[in-house]
Amino acid sequence: MRIVVDLTRCQGYAQCVFLAPQVFELHGEEALRYDPAVPDGQLDRVRQAAAACPVQAILVGEQVNTGAR
């Protein structure tokens, strides 16, 4: 699973950091950093984080399948 955070929308509420601290982190008070490739065992937490984001900025999904059709 992959995630991308729309940091244009993100307002730094850090809900995601509380709920999945191994995937999301704050750099300073407000700047969000995260691991785009969700590590094993963190998917439940990441889904909780995505549901909790007050501005719904976290997209969880599979990397697009570019293989032969």
């Binding site: 691991d35 785009p36 999904g61």
Partner: protein, 456 residues
């Protein structure tokens, strides 16, 4: 073209953020025809912003930023294939690997690439790098992990500043050389660039403004650089962060309004030809586009903004499968973010479209603030530093062309009279070695304009 716009053949050139989001939106909008996405990078669409942030710190691998899809766009992906030309009459995209690709409607999303160091031999020195792709990021991250004695970053725009920030976080000595008076000045103007300069110095960056790098030195391997002030600097790694070049060369013979400032389109993302006549089967989105914006006197905007690539791709895709009256304009106010030296910097509107600026909340001393920009008495932009929760208020003021300076009364206990506005000191971009990530590029869609006024 078949009467039903939800059928037929659509080709997207550029398999990155805008290309992916457009492909998804086409399917969401009910497009059932054939969809082909051509991209010259071998990788599936990936996210670039982490490349100058988490990736350089070694926290995330360079090739681990693949973008999640909102849905499977059910497309034929032609990755590692370069589009070399366009035949708008025969409606075919010419590909480097031979067979032309026919289309009924085409979306161009070829973005930008890093502006290279002008001297090819010097640029070829081992240790001279740029940063745009995940391969670039992999190289740079590897160099940084090897513990260089000093890194030279040429250009103090957002990317250059983020690279410098990563170096300092890794404990690596870094020199930033910038021709302009201060970092980020091209994007934020004079007042906030002073904050940026102070920030860099406080974090131990050897910041040299008002100088140009005259030559890169080395014997096969980069060893240092000569500066215009006569000094010489020794370093092991040099990152060229001098802004971006639009990937439009492949369109040179297409007859479209394509030039160094991008590919011009109307408010509905439909591309203009070189005479300023709008096409109806070629669309554009993302960093490569130049589009008119009503809030900025209908001047053509060129943006290098993640959010714009997404929003514009969605509008373009919607319009590609919608008949005239149900098409939508791309009117989103530009929003950008950058994180560096532990600060979250966000901008809304066009700060360079301004004659005055004031600090409406917070202060430079606190390291958190809201700066509001005005042009001829109305609000045109705002920048927050670690105060992102207030940004949408100012976005509303920009959208409604609210008067500048904004009314008093910020809820942060300052006297109810806002600070006096000062000139915003937006420099001529030609005097900088970083490109602003948002540029106003005049009114004319034709490409003569772009040729007459050389960029950067």
């Amino acid at each position: 073209m078949p009467g039903d716009l939800r059928q037929g053949r659509i080709v997207i050139v550029g398999a990155s953020l805008a290309g992916l989001r457009a492909a998804e939106t086409l399917r969401e909008a009910g497009f059932t025809g054939s969809l082909t996405v051509v991209g010259d990078e071998p990788h599936p669409p990936y996210d670039r912003p982490p490349l100058s942030k988490q990736v350089l710190l070694g926290r995330v691998a360079a090739h681990a930023t693949a973008l999640p899809a909102r849905r499977d766009p059910d497309a034929d992906w032609r990755l590692g294939v370069r589009a070399t030309g366009l035949d708008p009459i025969g409606k075919r995209v010419l590909l480097a690997d031979g067979e032309p690709l026919p289309y009924d409607r085409l979306l161009i999303a070829t973005g930008t690439r890093a502006r290279p160091w002008p001297d090819q031999a010097q640029a070829a020195l081992d240790g001279v790098l740029t940063l745009r792709t995940s391969d670039d990021a992999a190289h740079l991250a590897e160099r940084l992990a090897a513990g260089p004695r000093r890194v030279l970053v040429i250009g103090a725009g957002f990317t250059g500043s983020e690279i410098a920030s990563a170096c300092r976080e890794l404990g690596i000595e870094v020199t930033v050389a910038e021709r302009g008076p201060a970092p980020l000045v091209g994007a934020l103007g004079g007042t906030l660039s002073q904050l940026a300069a102070g920030l860099q110095r406080a974090h131990g960056v050897d910041l040299r403004c008002g100088v140009t790098v005259t030559a890169l030195r080395g014997d096969g391997r980069f060893t240092g650089a000569d500066l215009s002030d006569g000094s010489h600097l020794e370093a092991d790694v040099c990152v060229i962060a001098m802004g971006a070049v639009r990937n439009t060369e492949w369109l040179a013979d297409s007859g479209l309004a394509a030039g160094p400032r991008g590919l011009a389109c109307d408010a509905g993302c439909r591309v203009f030809d070189q005479y300023g006549i709008v096409t109806d089967d070629v669309f554009v989105a993302g960093d490569v586009a130049r589009f008119p914006h009503p809030l900025f006197e209908y001047q053509m905007l060129s943006l290098e903004h993640w959010g714009n690539a997404v929003a514009q791709a969605e509008v373009a895709a919607h319009n590609m499968v919608s008949p005239g009256p149900s098409r939508r304009p791309h009117l989103a106010v530009p929003v950008f973010w950058s994180s560096q030296f532990g600060l979250n910097i966000k901008s809304v509107g066009v700060p360079t479209f301004s004659d005055q600026v004031l600090i409406a909340q917070g202060s430079i001393a606190e390291g958190r603030l809201v700066a509001v920009y005005g042009y001829r008495g109305r609000i045109t932009a705002a920048v927050t530093v670690n105060m992102a929760k207030w940004l949408e208020h100012y976005q509303g003021l920009i959208e409604t062309a609210a008067p500048f300076p904004p009314g008093p009364g910020a809820a942060d206990a300052r006297p109810l009279v806002a600070d006096f506005p000062v000139p915003s000191n937006v420099p001529d971009p030609r005097g900088l070695c970083h490109g602003p990530t948002v540029a106003l590029t005049g009114h004319l869609p034709d490409r003569r304009l772009s040729v007459v006024r050389p960029a950067g």
